[in-house]
Amino acid sequence: MRLVSPKWTQRIAVGVLGAATLATLLILLFIIVFVLEKGLRTICWNFLFTDPQDMGRAGGIFPTLIGTLLLPLLALAVALPLGVGTAVYLTEYTREGRLTRIIRFGTDCLAGIPSIIFGLFGFIFFVTILKMGWCLLAGGLTLAIMILPTIIRTTEEAIRAVPYSYREVSFSLGATRWATVVKVVLPNALPGIVTGVMLSIGRCIGETAAVIFTAGQALHLPHSVFDSVRTMSVHFYILAREGISAKNAYGTAAVLIISILLLNVTTYWLMHRFIGRRT
């Protein structure tokens, strides 16, 4: 004898899974609404485009906006070519063997290391040994190392998902391996690569510990890559932790959430247009 009939098992399963999904969505929504509700009132033209005053108690957040823009950009400028290059080399130019397995295992391990370790490394190596000091460059390079494993692995997966037959066709039409990579493999792997890039940007934008360690927390606009910068995440971390201004901390957080939303929407829109043209 069954305790519960299959029909009821089915109903319970749908109920439980649905409830889990709903709970997840509600928690996310609650956080976003909570931060936006507290922060949106603060946001105005002056808040976005003027310098902070009195350690951030008054004034705006313009330098941290620029810092949040520049730091991930610099990290990507370094990590993207290196990561995509490595992934292409591992998938297209080498045969599967012990060496590729070791490299893959290494990148997987690196991906799991807490960001503070990268921060510590960046502090010791870039800031101290290379005498860069706390600056945009040291921060960017540290974040680049941090996101490199993610970019390599997502790009690799994306490249592997490109049908082998496309490569065969390309070779049979007289393409070199390089031409095949550039004209067939990478364009078709692009959606996956972009996903990895988005994840990486998210990690860079959200990072505080590693950034404070390497890029510092200066509140003025950087004039070169050797100037210290503060990102929005670092800014509201400090505002909240030091008890400087909860209002401005929420305001900054709201700006951060909105910018990430905008970034995602634009990227998906561009991706859709790109894929739409090809299929």
């Binding site: 390309s170 070779f171 049979s172 004209k183 299929t279």
Partner: protein, 253 residues
């Protein structure tokens, strides 16, 4: 069979790891004729075809011995230009594989790789090759829409046009009609017969009737061996080998 010889294969053996997939094949492929290759599954037909444009090179632990001469030059010489070889010897695969780009870009893929940039010239290539593949009338109004939206039969004719766009000397076809309906098949066959004026064509097929319809010469492969090779009429009417006769009358395979 006094035509000029395009491919001259001498004692060709091929191995996948330890397994021998071709056993000492010796065969001449004349120019401006269609050679049909028939034989049951895993008889080495496809492997043989892929040794002719060295596409087997992509498979790990593939090895070939013997000689394959294209216009008297051995394509398995270490310094032979493989990329150049594949431009001279085009291939149509069993499953049509349009690249995920427009019809126009699919066809001009080869020419663009070869450095053709002029738009009018590229357009002329598209029109000429689509005409030759009997596809022009069906797609002339949507050259810039995705090739993935074509039907299977249209995709395969697109693949043929794409090969012709490289202006090859030899066209290899690996069971090009295996997934197609009879009408698409007829169109492909019609195109092939029209094309042999300009090219040397090698057609691997599982369909013996197709070989008897379009091939001038026919070769019968069995378990990696070339059992018999001759004029198509002769193979289909008075086969010299018992096994050939058994296969084409459908007694096995």
């Amino acid at each position: 069979m006094t035509a000029e010889i395009k491919f001259s294969v001498r004692r060709l053996c091929a191995f996948h790891g330890r397994a021998e997939s071709l056993r000492s094949i010796t065969l001449d492929v004349p120019d401006h004729r269609i050679l049909g290759i028939i034989g049951p599954a895993s008889s080495g037909k496809t492997t043989f075809l892929r040794t002719l444009n060295r596409l087997n090179d992509l498979i790990p632990d593939f090895r070939a011995t013997g000689q394959v001469l294209l216009d008297s030059a051995d394509i398995y010489q270490p310094d032979f230009d493989v990329v150049g070889l594949r431009k001279r010897v085009g291939m149509v695969f069993a499953l049509p594989v349009p690249l995920p780009m427009s019809i126009h870009d699919n066809i001009t893929y080869g020419p663009r790789l070869a450095g053709v940039r002029d738009r009018q010239q590229l357009y002329d290539i598209v029109e000429r090759t689509l005409q030759a593949a009997f596809l022009w009338d069906e797609v002339k109004d949507r050259l810039h829409s995705s090739a993935l939206r074509l039907s299977g039969g249209q995709q395969q004719r697109l693949c043929l046009a794409r090969v012709l766009a490289m202006e090859p000397e030899v066209v290899l076809l690996d069971e090009p009609c295996s997934g197609l309906d009879p009408i698409s098949t007829a169109k492909i066959e019609e195109a092939l017969v029209a094309l042999k004026i300009r090219y040397s064509i090698i057609l691997v097929t599982n369909n013996t009737k197709q070989a008897s319809r379009v091939a001038d010469d026919t070769a019968f492969f069995l378990m990696g061996e070339l059992v018999e090779h001759g004029l198509t009429e002769q193979i289909f009417t008075v086969p010299r080998d018992q096994r050939t006769g058994d296969y084409i009358t459908g007694r096995f395979g």
